[in-house]
């Protein structure tokens, strides 16, 4: 579950961003759209515990984030957030298997090869485990990156622009893959994108989702509040 109330973030030398109150049930999907500069990255950073909120409260998977110390937030993030970055950032020096092992290393866990095999199998890339990232196609690389994101069975999957530079077919496949993976893990899926096709494909996979459009906001402005339950979200107007 993700919920935020009266959340604001003020940059040291810049505008203060105020965010809409919202509540997303565990296992639901949140589509976060908005032009650049609207605060998408900031909101994601707040969600991942990378930035402390200036005021207000953010609760992710039962954890009130401002109560996390800096060191704990790293461990918490490892357990809770599965991150799929736009450029994937698979380490070129390591094989697919080792890239997943890297996630366990980063989280301070001991290597669990059966878990890695499981995660790769679930995404249908188990045969590629000995390859280097340079030997993967775009789609394969994204599956590997997603396998890495969900390796530690996070409660929230964070996908940052997952469909940028993909053609329609690949875009559709990526959205379905994300949606299916989140459903399998009963994880909350957050997709931050400016790609309007994502919404179309999300509707097509007929999963209830919450669509939030962040607009560039003036100082101290408060935007509309949404409160959606995943069971009823499908009935709401898009």
């Amino acid at each position: 579950m993700i919920s935020c109330r009266q959340l604001t973030y003020r940059y040291a030398s810049g505008p203060e961003l105020a965010f809409a109150d919202l509540e997303v049930n565990q296992g639901a999907t949140l589509l976060l759209t908005g032009a650049s500069g609207s605060g998408k990255s900031t909101w994601l950073a707040l969600l991942a515990g990378l930035l402390p909120a200036s005021s207000g409260q953010m609760t992710v998977a039962g954890q009130v984030l401002d109560q996390l110390s800096k060191i704990n937030s790293d461990a918490w993030r490892a357990r809770t957030i599965g991150f799929l970055p736009q450029k994937l950032h698979l380490s070129a020096a390591l094989t697919v298997h080792d890239n997943l092992e890297l996630a366990q290393w980063a989280a301070g866990q001991t290597t669990d090869n059966s878990r890695i095999a499981e995660a790769l199998t679930a995404l249908g890339v188990q045969d590629l485990s000995k390859r280097k990232p340079s030997q993967l196609s775009g789609g394969q690389a994204q599956r590997v990156a997603l396998a890495r994101a969900v390796l530690l069975q996070p409660e929230v999957i964070l996908a940052d622009e997952p469909t940028a530079s993909l053609d329609d077919e690949a875009c559709h496949a990526a959205v379905s893959l994300l949606s299916d993976t989140a459903q399998r893990l009963k994880a909350t899926l957050v997709i931050a994108t400016h790609d309007s096709r994502v919404k179309k494909y999300l509707e097509a996979v007929s999963r209830p989702f919450l669509d939030i459009k962040l607009a560039s906001m003036p100082m101290n402005a408060s935007v509309m509040s949404y409160k959606i339950n995943s069971d009823v979200v499908a009935n709401l107007p898009a």
């Binding site: 990378l50 790293d74 918490w76 490892a78 991150f83 450029k87």
Partner: protein, 400 residues
Amino acid sequence: MKTILLSWRYLWSRPLAAGLNLLLLTLGLASITFVLLVSQQITMAFERDLAGIDAVVGAKGSPMQLILSGVFHIDAPTGNVPLAAVRELEKNPQVARVIPISLGDSFRGFRIVGTSFDYPKLYSATLADGTLWTQPMQAVVGSQVARQTGLKVGDSFAGAHGLGAGGESHGKVMYRVSGVLAASGSVLDRLILTATESVWKVHETDTALDAEDQKMLEEERELTLALIQYKSPLAAVTFPRFVNSTTEMQAAAPALEITRLLSMIGVGTDVLKALAGVLLLTAGLSVFIALWSAVRERRADLALLRMLGAPPRKIAGLLLCEALWLALLACALGLLAGQGVMAVAAWTLEAEKSVAISAFVWPIELVLVPVLALGVALAASALPAWEAYRISVFELLQSR
């Protein structure tokens, strides 16, 4: 996966840079190893051969030459002194022991030294085979001599005039080997010892025209030099002055001359050290640049590791570990290379029958090598590690 293993993979993901840095570091550390070994070995060789000799008395000339020829047997002697004058010294109350040394002949480049039993006793030499000489014209050969010439107990050989190989042979009188010394690492290893009388005998037999001439020669008998041990350390103040001012001979204190010699060699080792220092500095800078560009190149990857939950110290540790791998490898390779060069040097010196140095010894001074390697690694990786420590994950979300 362990940080150690991961940093190893990252290190070799750029084999060219890693190889170059390894080479530079290894060269620097090998030079340091070599310099340390050489100074330690030479100092040790000198100290070992000094073996409690307080003074050397010989013909006037360069005191350094006297010491080099008389104690270390690596230079020509300054001349001869009358036997009677040395006998006179034995009566001096400050003198505990006088060991006569007569040089002049050699066998295949190995010096034949006419002396007394006190000389092998000075180095606590033991026999590997046979016995010490019991009469003139018997000889005891050092271990290196035995090994390189194949001489063994019972063999006969003729000495050649002069200290280098290729002198005129004294064919009339043959030496017979009575014993072979056990290897001691001292100067004795490359000497052929015999009774002082043997040396006289060889030359007198060669040059005497008749019995009368022989008698005259016997009266003019000479020694090359004498090694002196004092009864009390106080003698060091007065004895050399006494010899230098009242006799036709000179007395030189080996300890003093060795200090002078080592300080002269020291200039050479200082230059080598400076060179090694420059190499290490270059290596350090090169490692720094490699790590720095690695942090720049992998910035996003490192940020992702942070996103995956790695705390900053773990990221910094990864960089540090990479540098430590380089240091460890270079340290091992540098030590081996340094010892290898040393082995070649030892082999060359042995072939030249010069100062004996041993290869593959590990004196405590070598601790400096891993310490330097560690220091260079830490210094070179400090800034890149700090940069890695400061990497903000937020950049990952903003990179568009």
